[in-house]
């Protein structure tokens, strides 16, 4: 896993998540800017996942490759699914969907880092 890229993704996701939660509290539906911002985060995540896949092919594989690939697929699908659902819901709850997705993504990236480091003990505690 690429450290700086992961950190940047987590920072952007957290900032966006807070923004969406504020907008939800203000009873705002997702604007086009909100949706595009989520897609931008999705693009950043996609780059991260591609870098991880390249690392998987060329470098060391984590001990739990199957879980790692599962997490990669989930992570890359997250932002598009959130945007799809948010577009179906032009109310404050659509904004909350974007907020939930933006706040779950950092967790997924952190788990990817843990698995990539092959931290078997941590994986044993928090599971797949």
């Amino acid at each position: 896993m690429n450290g700086p890229l992961s950190t940047a993704t987590i920072a952007v996701a957290l900032a966006l998540g807070v923004w969406y939660l504020i907008r939800t509290a203000l009873d705002r539906r997702p604007t086009n800017t909100d949706l595009w911002a989520m897609l931008g985060l999705g693009a950043l995540v996609t780059v991260l996942v591609i870098v991880a896949i390249v690392g998987l092919v060329t470098g060391d594989r984590p001990s739990d490759t199957m879980t790692f690939v599962g997490y990669l697929l989930t992570t890359v699908a997250f932002a598009p699914v959130a945007v799809y659902l948010a577009r179906l819901e032009p109310t404050r709850w659509g904004t909350l969907i974007l907020g939930v997705a933006a706040l779950v993504l950092p967790v997924l990236v952190l788990r990817l880092q843990q698995i990539a480091e092959g931290a078997a003990s941590i994986a044993g505690v928090t599971g797949a």
Partner: protein
């Protein structure tokens, strides 16, 4: 573009819209994570803790049915969601309590272990929100 206040939800809207769509996403996430976890556990090291892994699979199944119930909506979807949210509530309370009281019986974690502490206690809060949502949108 001047900002419009968000639309309010009509009373007869489907249970899978409004806040229900947020629940749909969260239940979907747990359906995926619990069943993927169970799949990995059962296929790679089932013999280590069969009870815990079967519980993981069961939890995954409960989350899947809750997601499906919310998604299809109507009287049938409501009943499916109601049943699975109730099982989910019982599951998190029983497994959560047992995993603390009798740690030996749970050598490896499930989604519901220690009241879902590995998942930020969301599995503990989720059935309450789900049941409240279904109650709030009960047919009348």
């Amino acid at each position: 573009m001047p900002e419009q206040p968000a639309h309010t939800r009509p009373r007869d809207a489907a249970i899978g819209s409004g806040l229900g769509r947020v629940l749909l996403l969260v239940y979907g996430i747990f359906a995926l994570s619990a069943s993927a976890r169970a799949l990995v556990q059962i296929t790679t090291h089932f013999s280590e803790a069969p009870v815990a892994y079967l519980l993981s699979a069961f939890a995954g199944l409960v989350y899947i049915t809750a997601t499906v119930g919310l998604a299809i909506g109507g009287a049938r979807g409501r009943l499916i969601a109601l049943t699975s949210c109730t099982i989910e509530l019982i599951g998190i309370l029983v497994v959560g309590t047992l995993s603390i009281a009798d740690a030996v019986a749970f050598p490896d974690d499930t989604v519901w272990s220690r009241y879902g502490s590995g998942y930020g206690y969301v599995p503990l809060v989720l059935p309450f929100i789900g049941l409240w949502w279904l109650w709030r949108n009960r047919p009348r």
